[in-house]
C-alpha cells in the first residue's frame, strides 16, 4: 500500500506559522517535513543601529517568550562592551525570566497542549462529586470542590448547547486517542479556565519591573526600575509585597494544580513515553546566573550536552562548534548550499525556491523551510526543558533529581521514558516546579541586598558611546523556556555592524541538513509514531506541541553582507 501524504497547515496552538507534512503507512508515520512559513528578517534590520536599542528590536522576535531575546541581547552587548551589571539587576532579571518560564509553561500546558489530551466534550459526562474526590486525591488546591466542578460543567454544557463553539469548533472531540475518564477531563477543563486568570495575575511581576507585559522594558547595563524604599514611583515595600505575593501564588498554582494535573494526565497516556523521542542529543547552554554571567558554575540550571542519550556523561558545551546549514532552507550561501557556517561567519541571502502558492505538497522539494538547520559538531540537537532537565539530572542537580525521580517513581517508569513526547511534557513541568521555588531565593537575595543598603540597579560607566572601543563583539547566551538561545553582536564605531541569533525553535524545528540528517521535530514524528486518521492528526499535534514551538523565534536571518570575522570570542 502506498503511503498517504498528510499536510497539517496551520499547526495551531503554537506561536508562529508552522506546517507539517508527513507520510503515513499502516497507521504509522514513516517520514516527516517541518516547514516554517513566515520570514521577517529582523537581523538585517539591526545593522547600523545603536547597540543599546538592540534589546527592543530583538525582543519583538517573540511576544510569547517576551523577555528572552531582550535579555540575551543585553547580555551580548554587555559582553561586547565589558559591562558587568549590578547584582540587583541580575536578580531582577532572574525574577522576570523566572516568572516568564513559570507563566509560559503553565499557559503552554493548559491552553496550547492540553486539548491534545483532554476531551472537552467528555467533561459533560463527569460526576462533579467524583471529580472533586479525584482532585482531592491529587492536591490540596482549595478550589477543587464538587460545587465548583458542577458549575464549570454546567457552563460547558450551555456553551456547547449554544452551537457557538468559538475556539472549540472542529476540535477532534471523541477521537479514540483521548483516554482520560470524564472526571479527569472535567478537572482539566476547570483548571484550563482558572489558569487563564492566574497567568494574567502573576505576570504583573513584569509590569512592576518592566512597565508592561508583553514586551517589558530592559536596559543595557542593568534595569531601569530604580529602588528607593522612600519613593512613590520606585521599587518600594508596596511593590515588593506585590511581587512576594505573586511568587507565592505562582508557586502554589504550579505545585497544587499544574504539576499534579500533568502527572495525573500522564498516567493515562504512558504509551507516549515510548513515542516521539527523535534525535538522541540534547543541549543546554545554562541559565539563571546566581553570580556574574561568566561564572558558569553558578548557573542554577547547568550548561552541558548529552550525546546519544548517554546520561552517564555530560559533555561540555563549546559555542564554537555551532554551525548552520541551509541545504533545505530558502537561502543561499556563497560557498554553496551544503556548507555549514559558524554564526560568526554566517551569511544569509533569502532565496525562495519553492513552488508558487497555493501549495499542495512541499515534501518532494529539495528546499522546504524558512528555518535553517543548526547543528552542534555536525549533529542535530534537541533544546528545551527536556534537554535542561536531562543535563541537570545527569549533572547531579539535587533538586532536579528529586523532582524528576519522584515523578518517574509515581509513573513507575525509568529515566529512559524521558526520551519521548511524554517525557518532554513532563520535563517542562518538573522544570516549572524548580523555578517557581527558586524565585523565592532570588527574591530573598534582592530584599537582603536592599536591607544591607545596596539599591544599585544600573552601571553607568560604559553607557556613553565615547567609552566604547572602536570595534567590539559579544555573545549573549540564555536558556529560554523553549531552549538554548544565542545572540552574537558586532559593534563598529558605536553602531551594530552585525547581529545574529540562533534560537531554540531553529534547533528543534529546522529541516534536513547537508548530510540528510533530519531535525528534532522530523525525527520525533518518525520515532515509533502513530497516526490513525490523517484527517484528524491529533497524534502529530501531541508531539509537535510537546516541543512548544515558537516559530517567529525560529525564523531569523543573519547579516546580509556576511562578513568574515577573524577574532572569535568564546565565553
Amino acid at each position: 500500500m502506498a503511503a498517504t501524504r498528510v499536510v497539517v497547515d496551520p499547526i495551531t496552538r503554537i506561536e508562529g506559522h508552522l506546517r507539517i507534512e508527513a507520510q503515513q503507512d499502516n497507521g504509522r508515520i514513516t517520514n516527516a517535513w517541518s516547514t516554517a512559513t513566515q520570514f521577517r528578517g529582523i537581523e538585517i534590520i539591526m545593522t547600523g543601529r545603536d547597540p543599546r536599542d538592540a534589546w527592543a528590536f530583538t525582543q519583538r522576535i517573540c511576544g510569547v517568550c517576551t523577555v528572552v531575546h531582550a535579555v540575551a541581547s543585553c547580555r551580548a552587548v554587555e559582553d561586547a562592551l565589558g559591562i558587568r551589571i549590578p547584582p540587583n539587576a541580575n536578580l531582577i532579571r532572574n525574577l522576570i525570566h523566572g516568572m516568564q518560564f513559570v507563566q509560559d509553561h503553565v499557559i503552554h500546558f493548559y491552553h496550547l497542549h492540553a486539548l491534545d489530551w483532554v476531551d472537552v466534550t467528555s467533561a459533560l459526562k463527569a460526576d462533579p462529586a467524583a471529580t472533586a474526590r479525584l482532585a482531592a486525591s491529587l492536591s490540596p488546591w482549595p478550589n477543587n470542590s464538587a460545587t465548583w466542578f458542577a458549575e464549570v460543567q454546567n457552563r460547558v454544557a450551555k456553551f456547547v448547547a449554544s452551537g457557538q463553539l468559538g475556539i472549540f469548533t472542529n476540535g477532534y472531540w471523541g477521537h479514540p486517542a483521548y483516554k482520560l475518564p470524564p472526571e479527569a477531563n472535567l478537572m482539566a477543563v476547570a483548571h484550563y479556565l482558572e489558569a487563564l486568570d492566574w497567568q494574567r495575575d502573576v505576570i504583573r511581576l513584569h509590569t512592576i519591573f518592566g512597565g508592561k507585559n508583553p514586551h517589558p522594558n530592559f536596559l543595557v547595563g542593568g534595569m531601569a526600575s530604580a529602588i528607593n524604599l522612600e519613593g512613590t514611583a520606585t521599587i518600594n515595600a508596596e511593590r515588593l509585597t506585590d511581587i512576594r505575593d505573586m511568587i507565592t501564588r505562582a508557586q502554589r498554582f504550579v505545585e497544587q494544580v499544574y504539576w499534579p494535573d500533568l502527572q495525573a494526565i500522564a498516567s493515562f497516556y504512558k504509551e507516549w513515553a515510548g513515542i516521539g523521542g527523535g534525535v538522541r542529543n540534547y543541549l543546554a547552554c545554562g541559565e539563571f546566573p546566581e553570580g556574574n554571567i561568566d561564572e558558569l558554575d553558578k548557573m542554577y540550571l547547568p550548561r552541558g550536552i548529552i550525546m546519544d542519550r548517554d546520561l552517564s556523561t555530560v559533555v561540555p558545551y563549546d559555542p564554537s562548534k555551532v554551525a548552520e546549514f541551509i541545504t533545505s532552507s530558502w537561502y543561499e550561501y556563497a560557498q554553496g548550499d551544503d556548507a555549514g557556517l559558524h554564526p560568526y561567519e554566517g551569511e544569509t541571502k533569502p532565496k525562495y525556491a519553492g513552488p508558487p502558492t497555493p501549495w499542495t505538497y512541499l515534501q518532494q522539494e529539495k528546499k522546504y523551510s524558512w528555518l535553517k538547520s543548526p547543528r552542534y559538531d555536525g549533529k542535530p540537537m534537541e533544546v528545551g526543558p527536556l534537554a535542561r532537565m536531562l543535563v541537570a539530572y545527569a549533572s547531579g542537580h539535587e533538586e532536579a533529581r528529586a523532582v524528576i525521580g519522584d515523578a518517574l517513581g509515581r509513573l513507575k517508569v525509568g529515566p529512559a521514558a524521558l526520551f519521548s513526547t511524554l517525557g518532554r511534557t513532563a520535563a517542562r513541568g518538573a522544570e516549572t516546579v524548580l523555578l517557581a521555588r527558586r524565585m523565592n531565593t532570588w527574591y530573598d537575595s534582592l530584599v537582603n541586598r536592599i536591607k544591607s543598603g545596596d539599591t544599585q540597579t544600573f552601571t553607568s560607566d560604559k553607557w556613553e558611546p565615547e567609552t566604547w572601543p572602536a570595534t567590539a563583539q559579544g555573545y549573549g547566551f540564555l536558556d529560554a523556556p523553549r531552549g538554548a538561545l544565542g545572540h552574537w553582536v558586532q559593534i563598529a564605531d558605536g553602531k551594530i555592524s552585525r547581529y545574529q541569533c540562533v534560537v531554540p525553535s531553529t534547533w528543534n524545528a529546522g529541516p534536513r541538513d547537508a548530510t540528510g540528517q533530519v531535525g528534532p521535530y522530523e525525527a520525533a514524528l518518525t520515532d515509533n509514531h502513530p497516526l490513525v486518521d490523517p484527517q484528524r492528526p491529533i497524534e502529530i499535534l501531541r508531539t509537535i506541541h510537546s516541543f512548544d514551538p515558537c516559530i517567529a523565534c525560529g525564523v531569523h536571518v543573519l547579516d546580509a553582507e556576511g562578513r568574515t570575522v577573524t577574532e572569535v570570542k568564546v565565553l
Binding site: 496551520p10 499547526i11 495551531t12 496552538r13 506561536e15 506559522h17 506546517r19 512559513t37 513566515q38 520570514f39 521577517r40 538585517i44 534590520i45 547600523g48 545603536d50 527592543a56 528590536f57 519583538r60 511576544g63 510569547v64 464549570v152 457552563r155 450551555k158 456553551f159 449554544s162 457557538q164 468559538g166 475556539i167 469548533t169 472542529n170 476540535g171 476547570a190 482558572e194 487563564l196 486568570d197 509590569t207 512592576i208 519591573f209 512597565g211 508592561k212 507585559n213 508583553p214 517589558p216 522594558n217 536596559l219 542593568g222 531601569a224 526600575s225 530604580a226 529602588i227 528607593n228 519613593g231 514611583a233 533569502p350 502558492t357 501549495w359 539599591t455 540597579t457 553607568s460 536571518v557
Partner: protein
Amino acid sequence: MYYPTTHPWSGDQSLGEHLNERGVSRRDFLEFCGSMCAVLGLSKSMLPSLAAQLEAIKRPSVIWLQLQECTGCVESVLRTAEPTIGDLVLDLVSLDYQHTLMAGAGQAAEKALSDAMAANKGKYVLVVTGSVPLNENGIFLTIGGRTGREILEEAARDAAAVVGVGACAHFGSVQAARPNPTGAVGIRSIITDKPVVILAGCPPIGDVVTATLVHFLTFGRLPQMDSEGRPLFAYGKRIHDQCTRRAHFDAGQYVEVFDDEAARKGWCLYKVGCKGPATFSPCPIFQWNTRTSWPIGAGHPCIGCTEPFFWDTMTPFYGRLPNVAGFGIESKVDVIGAGLAIGATAGVLAHAAATSVYQLRRRRKDEAVAAAAAATGGTTPSERTKED
C-alpha cells in the same frame, strides 16, 4: 484574588441574563457601564443607552487573523481583565478563528474559518494582528499554503468591521523598519474600501481592544479616529500631557542618567530619551496589566510604540527628543512642552507637524539605506508615508 473565567455565554442568553446568572448585580453592571463611558469618553447621559444595548446583544462572530507577527498582541489581549466583569467582555464574542487558542489544526482550522465567514457574511468582526509582506509576491508569509495577502483580502471582503491590533497591523512594525527586507505593510495598505480601526502599540494595551469591541457592538460603528486610524478615546492625547511625571518636566527636574538620585525620586525621563512628548497613547491612563504600572511608571522612557514607523523615527531610543527630532538646542524644550500642551483636536495637527520634522531626519537616514532598500526590493518608511 482570582476571578475565574468559567462562564461561557450561551447563544440563547442576552448579556443582561448572562450577567445576572453569573451573580453580577445590575448595580455592578451599571458601574461597569459607567466606567466604560469614561473610558470611551462618553457623557453620563449616554449610560442608559450603553447599558441597554450591552444587555441586549448576543455573541457576534469574531474572526482573528494572525499574519506576520510575534503573537505579543494576542498575549496582550489574554491579559485583559477587570475584576468580575472585564473577563466577560471577552465573552462578548464568539471567537470562531484564532490560531493561538483554537482546538483544531490544518484543514479543521481552515474549515472553521470558511464556515464562520459564510455563516456570518457581512456581520463578523475581523481582528487582524500582524503585517502583510508584499515583496516576492508575498512568499514571506503563508498559511495553509496561501499568502497572507490573499487570506486578508478574502476575510476583509465580507467583514462588518476591521480592527487592526498592534504596530504590525498599523504600519508593519519592526519587520518594516529600514530596510524592510520583506516589504511588510500595515493592513490599511491592503484594505482600502472600508474603515479600519488601528489599535496602535507594540503591543497595544489589551483593554483598548476590549473597549473598541464594546464600542462597535454597542453603537454599531467604529469609534472616531485620527489620521492613523487610532480611536480618539484611547489615542487622543499625548503621553506627555497625561504623564504622572509631568510636574517634574515642568519644574525642570530630570533624570540625567539611569539609577541616579533623580531616577530614585521618580523625576522626568525626558533627558534619557523619553518619547512621551511625541506619542499619542493611553498608557498613563489605562496603564498595563490590570493597572499595575506602565513603562514610565517603572522608570524606563517611552519608546513611542503607538506612533507610525517608530523604529526609525523614535530611535535611538535613548536620544533626547529635540536632538532626535532635529529641534536643535535644548532651550527649545520649554517651547516644545508649551507647544504640545494644547487641545486634543488641534493636537493631531500639532502632531502631524512634529511628524514632518521627523520625516526630514528620516529622509536623511533613508538616503543612507536607499541602496539596501532597493537591493531587497523593500520600500522605505518615507515612501510608504507618502503613499498613505
